[in-house]
Symmetry: C2
Subunit: 158 residues, 2 copies
DNA sequence: CTCCTTGCAAATGATTTGCAAAAAC
DNA sequence: GTTTTTGCAAATCATTTGCAAGGAG
């Protein structure tokens, strides 16, 4: 370890500049765990109302290029940003939208299989597993809690 | 089986109407495997140029409500639509964007674990696993093809 | 003939871009 | 002082909605 890993150092090594906005965005991402650009913006604006959402987008892109944060697609809507050190698999309930987290080792065996069988290296932290959380399972389907294959066919008649 | 499974029958049972557009959209989804609304639209317009993309969006929504197609989020951009009968897990390469498919049983053990440990029922077909495909692995990283878990952890102390 | 469905145009929501002013080095 | 960064407004892209005309049953 001889490399400067501070945000300031990382920026300076590339001829980029340290600004309060960049620190605030990074802090917000750290704080929120996995948040959309808009959530990050709201958090930042709680401290510095003048910061524009444009800057948040630009800064998130930049921090990702620097390898300081990463984004994952949790399902239907916006990408969410978090830090590499929070390595976990996201479990998104597509009924209530809740995001659970599971240890990446959950996918260890799967990862090995895709690598050896198809040469595909999984990035577990970028994955969002979709399904139905415990609460919604009970709420919608009190006794079919052991079947993982039957599609539910939602109703939508006028 | 006594239930009419044709699109026309499914529609009629709910008081909805069969139209050429709906058949075309369904054919396009079947044909394309997993396609974004825009790709479906392009395919449909190859046959019927007058069909509006609005209709494609509306029809995809409808077909999904009917349980005829489903959508999955494959990563960065648009959702993609496919058929329930093609039950597979998507493996998306976030380097080249290629989409591979794996049998859903790949996630069987994971599914059992999330269900018993967290009460979370996975929907394997809705899942997109992200990572690096064999081609891109070799292209970028010719000899590190056996590591699926060691992170480089960027630091940033307050 | 009666409602459902479509096409169009305009509304919306999220993200990006151009540019001059402000800030960092 | 020079170059990067920011804020704002306008542009863009994807998706949705209102409404009148067109089509299915």
């Amino acid at each position: 370890m001889g490399v400067d890993t501070s945000l300031k150092g990382t920026l300076h090594r590339r001829g980029l500049r340290m600004t309060p906005q960049r620190q605030l965005v990074l802090d917000a991402v750290r704080d929120l765990g996995h948040a959309t650009p808009e959530q990050v913006c709201t958090k930042v604006q709680a401290v510095a109302p003048a910061v524009n959402i444009t800057t948040v987008y630009r800064t998130l892109d930049l921090l990702e290029q620097l390898g300081v944060v990463q984004h994952a697609h949790l399902g239907h809507g916006a990408p969410t940003y978090s830090q590499h050190e929070h390595r976990h698999v996201h479990l998104v309930c597509h009924s209530c939208g809740k995001v659970d987290e599971a240890p990446t080792e959950l996918l260890g065996a799967v990862s090995e299989r895709t690598l050896s069988e198809m040469g595909f290296r999984l990035d577990a932290t970028h994955v969002a597993l979709s399904g139905t959380c415990a609460d919604c399972l009970e709420r919608n389907d009190p006794d079919a809690a052991d079947d993982a294959g039957t599609p539910e066919t939602p109703e939508g008649g006028p």
